[in-house]
């Protein structure tokens, strides 16, 4: 066997390089497992914390149709969180532990959800921009090296495609509506544009783990690559809607065949990441409350199942 002298780690990397999937019981470097658990659980946390800003508008949705769509969408986020927690559980993490880390403030989730949803147009922006950004991140993850994660992402992406469309449709309806509606749409875009650009994470030269994650194919594009793609995609869509992105520097650059754009306020980014966004406290508290107030329900179901099993 020619591979006899290769270490387990080298064999592992060979499989990754050959685009073979890694499955739960396969040998993997401990750092790969840990990085994946962190990345997948963060992603799962983002889904369930992300339910809150949108859930905020379910009871105020302006029509029965919009109410149904929004409820179905927010429910999907719960499903996505669930698929992702399940994927992380195949790596030996328990959902209870992951949630405990979230509740203790030890685990991160996407900072975008620490911004408030203040008008109905925010629901449009969350679908159109935030989900649009999420999809750019997620589509490449359907080919990520860890099998259960990739399969979860396939399911997520399939369901996610309606999310962005419903967001765009909300924006379009507003932009074609009364002046107040158009103003509502522009005002929301002004607030969401920059935070959405932050969703892709720090600049490449300040993102220490990127290289290794790319090598392991648990990340397939760099933060800056994705951010550029996003701007290239969204500026024309905003123009189509008759809206203006709040960045005077956003201009087509013929040489690079992409848009130039201004600098993200990284000071704000780190402030929010470190817990000082407007909604950080409320979001986390809402999750903790739901979990703690649900404790007796979960215990009761388990106790009943035990009683029933004992009776058979």
């Amino acid at each position: 066997m020619e591979t006899a002298e290769l270490t387990q780690e080298e064999l592992f990397q060979q499989r990754i390089d050959a685009d073979q999937r890694i499955e739960p019981k396969d040998w993997m470097p401990e750092a790969y497992r840990k990085t994946l658990i962190r990345q997948i659980s963060q992603h799962a946390h983002s889904e369930i914390v992300g339910m809150l800003p949108e859930g905020n508008w379910i009871t105020r949705a302006p029509s029965l149709k919009r109410k149904s769509i929004l409820l179905a969408k927010v429910q999907d986020e719960a499903g996505h969180g669930l698929y992702l927690y399940s994927a992380a559980e195949t790596l030996g993490a328990s959902r209870d532990q992951m949630l405990a880390d979230l509740h203790a403030g030890k685990a991160k989730y996407s900072s975008i959800f620490n911004y408030p949803t203040l008008s109905w147009a925010d629901i449009g922006c969350v679908g159109w921009l935030v989900d649009g950004a999420a999809i750019l991140n997620q589509v490449p993850l359907c080919r990520t090296s860890y099998g259960p994660y990739a399969r979860a992402m396939v399911r997520v992406c399939k369901e996610e495609s309606f999310h962005q469309r419903q967001g765009f449709e909300i924006m379009q309806t507003l932009c074609e509506g009364a002046p107040e509606q158009k103003a509502m749409a522009q005002e929301a875009l002004n607030r969401w544009w920059w935070p959405t650009l932050m969703m892709f994470g720090p600049k490449d030269d300040e993102s220490p783990n990127t290289a290794r994650s790319m090598q392991w194919r648990i990340k397939r594009f760099t933060n800056d690559e994705l951010r550029q793609k996003f701007v290239d995609m969204m500026v024309p869509q905003a123009e189509f809607l008759g809206l203006t992105v709040p960045d005077a520097k956003a201009k087509w650059n013929e040489t690079k065949k992409g848009y130039d754009f201004g600098d993200v306020n990284w000071e704000e980014f780190w402030q929010v990441v470190n817990g000082n966004g407007l909604c950080n406290h409320d979001r986390l508290q809402a999750r903790v409350d739901a979990w703690e107030e649900g404790a007796w329900v979960r215990e009761a179901a388990l106790a009943h199942a035990k009683k029933r099993a004992a009776r058979v």
Binding site: P62, L64, L71, V74, Q75, R298, A300
Partner: protein, 266 residues
């Protein structure tokens, strides 16, 4: 949506019957709307992800039923009001839902008990409504009864789990039962509108439903080792527009957009 009523079928009704039916369908629509609304408040706050999804599914079913019913009500009325006009642009005293469905979520036990009392009625009611000579109501019932069967399974199983779970869950569900029981009777206490339509044979007679509703409730409570409250004076009025204070707050949220931005498309 399949209940987009064609005018020819409706024209067979006298104006009086049409008015009665309009009120009746509105009552059913308001009921599903309010309960769906309450359940949707749980979204993102459930005791575990799996149950968050379950409650949202039930809420979505109820909202779907709501829309079919409002569309039919709008057709019966024939004044070009839309489903949204009916759902969002009436005053509190015009809503005709029974008091039960506007009660707050409370803890999970309250939500489960409210849901079970309603589902047990709703499922048995829809079973009968399928046989209504009114083809639109029959069609809506035929679709919704399958959903209601699932809702009832969900809520009945939770009644059993909470009743026969831990000491705490038992105390909580007993408290919820004692709080919500007073609103249960209204579900099957016919209003003059309901009586008139029952007499015409257009809608199910509650007297015929009572035995199966009671029997199933007794069966579930027995399995849950819970006692059925006796001699509780019922609270009535919602179906005739006399509501609890809770409804006003629900409408403040529900109607916020439509009232703030009148006449706009969303």
């Amino acid at each position: 949506m399949q209940a987009t009523a064609d005018a020819s079928a409706l024209s067979t009704y006298s104006p009086e019957v049409r008015q009665l039916l309009f009120n009746y369908v509105l009552q059913l629509a308001d009921t599903s709307l309010l309960l769906g609304h309450r359940l949707s408040e749980w979204c993102g706050h459930g005791p575990i992800l799996e149950q968050d999804l379950a409650m949202a599914n039930i809420a979505l079913d109820l909202l779907g039923e709501t829309r079919s019913l409002y569309q039919y009500a709008a057709a019966l009325e024939g004044r070009h009001r839309s489903e949204d006009d009916l759902a969002f642009l009436r005053v509190a005293t015009d809503y005709r839902n029974p008091l039960l469905v506007e009660q707050p979520n409370g803890d999970f036990a309250h939500t489960v008990v409210r849901q079970f009392l309603f589902d047990n009625f709703h499922y048995h009611f829809l079973q009968q409504l399928q046989a209504s000579p009114d083809q639109h109501l029959a069609a809506i019932a035929e679709k919704s009864v399958k959903e209601a069967a699932y809702h009832l399974k969900w809520s009945a199983e939770w009644v059993v789990r909470l009743g026969d779970g831990t000491e705490e869950s038992r105390q909580r569900i007993e408290k919820a039962i004692s709080k919500l029981w007073r609103y249960a009777a209204e579900l099957m206490m016919p209003t003059p509108t309901e009586q008139a339509l029952q007499k015409l044979g257009l809608v199910p007679d509650y007297i015929a439903l009572q035995p199966s509703v009671d029997a199933y409730l007794a069966q579930v409570f027995a399995e849950a080792t819970l006692l059925i409250p006796q001699n509780v004076p019922p609270q009535l009025g919602g179906k005739q527009g006399r509501h609890s204070e809770h409804l006003g707050y629900i409408l403040a949220e529900l109607q916020y957009m439509q009232r703030t931005y009148p006449g706009m498309k969303w």
